[in-house]
């Protein structure tokens, strides 16, 4: 029986796990099709009671579906990659091969991120060493138990080792870095810099997904449209709720383009109703005291700062809408605290964006204007421009980077005969 999740105390345990994985990768190729078969079965059993309530699991189930992943594989690696075949490229032929053992350093705030990160590398035929953030230990064990349940032939389970160790153990971090051929690193600035500084082999490839925030914007004809208002507000609430607004794709501010004769108060009331509805559907089960303090502080600070500022919030720390005007992105609070700012022209805030903004969620009635704004945002460092309500849809490129391709080598063979 393979022990997938291991509590690690010694660097040698990491080297041993990596050695097992490398032997597996060297022993046999694995095609994306065979990975997808297991993923499909895994997605099905993740709907069972042991895992269904884990935050993000519904999202993970969607991600694991063939319908989601096949187009991504085709776009990143080409049609024939699904079956592990070579593709013609003029006189040459191309094929994606795994890097080997890929190390994953996921963030600790997104419950399913160890799994998401791992699946990207598995689709490239790699084996995975995953450092499980301490707080995610139990949830990750439950999710991976479901993989074991369906992977009777050990197609994927023999390619995965999840390591639990204290993030402060530099010796263990270093041992893991030395053992891999590639790494997917997710985290805050401090965490990312720390991992980048580890002694990776000189050939190792790193895909780094650093800390960023996201913003939402609506043109006047969208938010003033009474028929569509409720639907947009529900979408915004969903984007805010997922991952407790702590993901890099979570909107922290919503810009509303002003329209003469229209005041955003009614819109804010509809948004409030949508937030209340979403909160009833998905109430928080726990919250760090520091986040509660930060939310209370943000509410008071906003209203004391300027007597023109308005706010609507729940009696608990559940959700907060801070309302005002201006084109600057305020300091994010997270914890379902959305700042709603009226602007004369959406180009004003977008012109001020820098590389810190990952996703722009848009609701635009005018497609030509949307194209213009999308280009403006892209030129200011935004990597994803999507419809409101779809800000977290995990589709590559993510942070401007493909998800599978960075962890494969595309080998070119030019036949000597012919």
């Amino acid at each position: 029986m393979i022990e997938l999740v291991r509590n690690i105390e010694r660097p040698e345990d990491i080297s041993a796990a990596a050695r097992e994985l490398r032997e597996t990768v060297d022993a046999a190729e694995i095609t994306p099709q065979s990975v997808l078969e297991v993923f499909e079965a895994w997605a099905a059993v993740l709907g069972e009671r042991e895992t269904i309530d884990i935050p993000g699991v519904q999202f993970l189930r969607m991600w694991l579906r063939r319908g989601t992943l096949e187009p991504i594989i085709v776009r990143e690696l080409g049609h024939r990659a699904l079956d592990g075949a070579w593709m013609e490229d003029g006189r040459a032929r191309l094929k994606a091969f795994p890097l080997g053992v890929v190390g994953h350093w996921p963030a600790g705030n997104i419950e399913i991120q160890p799994m998401l990160s791992m699946t990207c590398a598995l689709l490239g035929g790699n084996a995975c060493l995953v450092r499980v953030p301490s707080g995610l230990d139990d949830l990750t064990r439950r999710i991976i138990a479901k993989l074991k349940q369906v992977d009777g032939k050990w197609v994927l389970t023999r390619r995965v080792r999840l390591l639990v160790f204290d993030h402060a153990r530099r010796d263990l971090q270093e041992a893991m870095a030395r053992a891999v051929d590639g790494a997917m690193v997710w985290g805050g600035a401090e965490a990312v810099l720390e991992v980048r500084g580890l002694p990776f082999p000189h050939w190792a490839r790193l895909a780094v997904f650093g800390p960023r925030i996201s913003v939402a914007a609506m043109d006047a004809d969208s938010w003033c449209n009474v028929q569509e208002r409720e639907s947009w507000c529900r979408r915004i609430a969903r984007d805010v709720w997922q991952f407790d607004q702590q993901a890099c794709s979570s909107p922290q501010v919503l810009f509303l383009e002003k329209k003469p004769g229209h005041c955003c108060d009614e819109f804010v009331q509809t948004l409030k109703t949508a937030f209340e509805y979403e909160n009833r559907l998905h109430p928080r089960l726990t919250i760090p005291a520091g986040l509660t303090s930060a939310i209370c502080q943000a509410r008071a600070s906003w209203l004391l700062d300027d007597i023109a500022h308005r706010a609507v919030f729940s009696t608990g720390p559940d959700w907060t809408l801070l309302v005002g005007s201006g084109s600057e992105i305020p300091q994010p609070t997270q914890g379902k605290t959305l700042t709603v700012l009226e602007v004369d022209d959406l180009r004003q805030p977008l012109q001020k964006l820098d590389g810190n903004v990952q996703t722009l969620g848009l609701a635009m009635a005018d497609p030509a204007r949307e194209e213009e704004l999308a280009s403006l945002a892209a030129s200011r460092g935004v990597d994803r421009i999507v419809k409101l309500g779809r800000m977290h849809v995990f589709a590559p490129p993510w942070d401007g980077v493909d998800l599978i391709r960075p962890m494969v080598r595309v080998v070119r063979h030019v036949p000597s005969t012919g």
């Binding site: 963030a107 600790g108 985290g187 965490a191 993901a247 209203l303 700062d305 706010a311």
Partner: protein, 374 residues
């Protein structure tokens, strides 16, 4: 305002731990509602905050339903004030960790007077009302005159009404640090050996500049009849692995008194007129002119007995700044809402440390944040 002031003074005339929780709520609730209304009329920014509170203040049926201000907002510059600048007699500043902005509390004469009265009432309940020689383990500069006074100075001055004479036993050492004035201390000990004495110092100052040097020289001052009050928190001593028991025994040994004469009290300049000394059971008590509400971080509702949460402190005493209901950055556990074995009525609680700040990290490593919630 005169009517409000009169009602506050009436509260101050009640023994600080003499009311049942129900009586205390009934005394405080209407008064605090009126004080909030008064504050709204005096400060437009504060009014904007309270007007957006999700529940109606007038219909509040318990103190926990009234709007609270996060204490960090008192760091605003200029200070949040309910009086005209010329009415401000003194500005208190909180102790703050290096690099942090301190709170700034504007005091007018009436608030300042009530602050003194409030602290005296509480302290009397613990050490009696007689004046006595007062040994301050600090330097006189801590209470130097001027428009601003720090937390150390405020604590020293707060106990001044119990002093028949004041002796400071530390002095500057020339390098910007403090040092023990041995001659002065030994002279004081010799002269007051048979007197009832009051000693006060910040917790880490007592340890670093008094206990450690005297213990190193094996000196015992031989002063058996005294009360040693200290405040300021344990953060610096925790770094030296000094716990409460070690601290109390260390002090008792150098003074030559029983360890139960050492009284730790929690106080914050923002919560004017109220300090929370430990009772013989090791609990902190709430006086009648204030309250402590411990709120569940998940709901912000008051916790059950035995449950931890974020501390909100209330005080009916200030009228010069909106410090009536303050959500602190401290964690505490409610021991009981009434019935401490020490005999004092009302809520008692124990501190559990500071709220760890949440950091905004995008898809970042929020491991530390998550661990807090476990």
């Amino acid at each position: 305002m005169d009517e409000l002031a009169h009602r506050i003074d009436q509260l101050l005339a009640i023994p600080p731990y003499g009311l049942t929780p129900e009586e205390q709520q009934s005394e405080l609730l209407d008064l605090l509602k009126d004080e909030l209304e008064y504050a709204c009329a005096r400060n437009a920014r504060y009014r904007n905050y309270l007007q957006h509170w999700p529940t109606d203040i007038r219909s509040a049926r318990r103190l926990a339903d009234l709007p609270y201000l996060p204490v960090g907002l008192l760091k605003a510059q200029p200070p949040l004030s309910l009086v005209e600048p010329h009415e401000i007699k003194k500005t208190l500043t909180s102790s703050s960790t290096t690099g942090q902005v301190p709170s700034r509390i504007a005091l007018d004469s009436p608030t300042s007077r009530r602050m003194t009265k409030g602290v005296v009432n509480i302290t009397q309940d613990f050490i009696g009302s007689n004046r006595r020689p007062y040994l301050v383990v600090d330097v006189p500069a801590s209470v130097a005159g001027g428009p601003e006074m720090g937390a150390r100075g405020a604590a020293i001055q707060g106990l001044r009404p119990f002093a028949s004479e004041v002796t400071y036993c530390l002095k500057p050492d020339g390098d910007g640090d403090l040092t023990l004035d041995r001659d002065k201390l030994l002279h004081f000990a010799e002269a007051q050996r048979k007197s009832v004495v009051l000693v006060y110092g910040f917790t880490y100052i007592l340890w670093k500049y008094l206990v450690k040097p005297l213990r190193a020289e094996n000196i015992c001052l031989g002063m058996g009849d005294l009360h040693i009050l200290h405040s300021g928190g344990w953060k610096l001593l925790q770094k030296e692995a000094v716990d409460k028991k070690t601290f109390n025994e260390g002090l008792a040994r150098v003074f030559g008194c029983p360890a139960d004469r050492v009284i730790d009290f929690y106080g914050m300049v923002e919560n004017v007129g109220i300090i929370y000394p430990d009772c013989a059971e090791g609990n902190k008590h709430v006086p009648v002119y204030g309250d402590v509400i411990v709120r569940d971080p998940l709901t912000l509702q008051p916790v059950e007995e035995g449950q931890p949460g974020i501390v909100e402190v209330c005080s009916a005493l200030p009228t010069s700044f909106p410090g009536h209901l303050l959500l602190t950055e401290d964690l505490a556990e409610i021991v009981t809402y009434d019935g401490c074995r020490c005999g004092r009525r009302g809520t008692c609680f124990r501190f559990m440390g500071r709220v760890e700040k949440a950091e905004v990290r995008g898809c970042g490593n929020i491991e530390r944040t998550r661990q807090q919630s476990n």
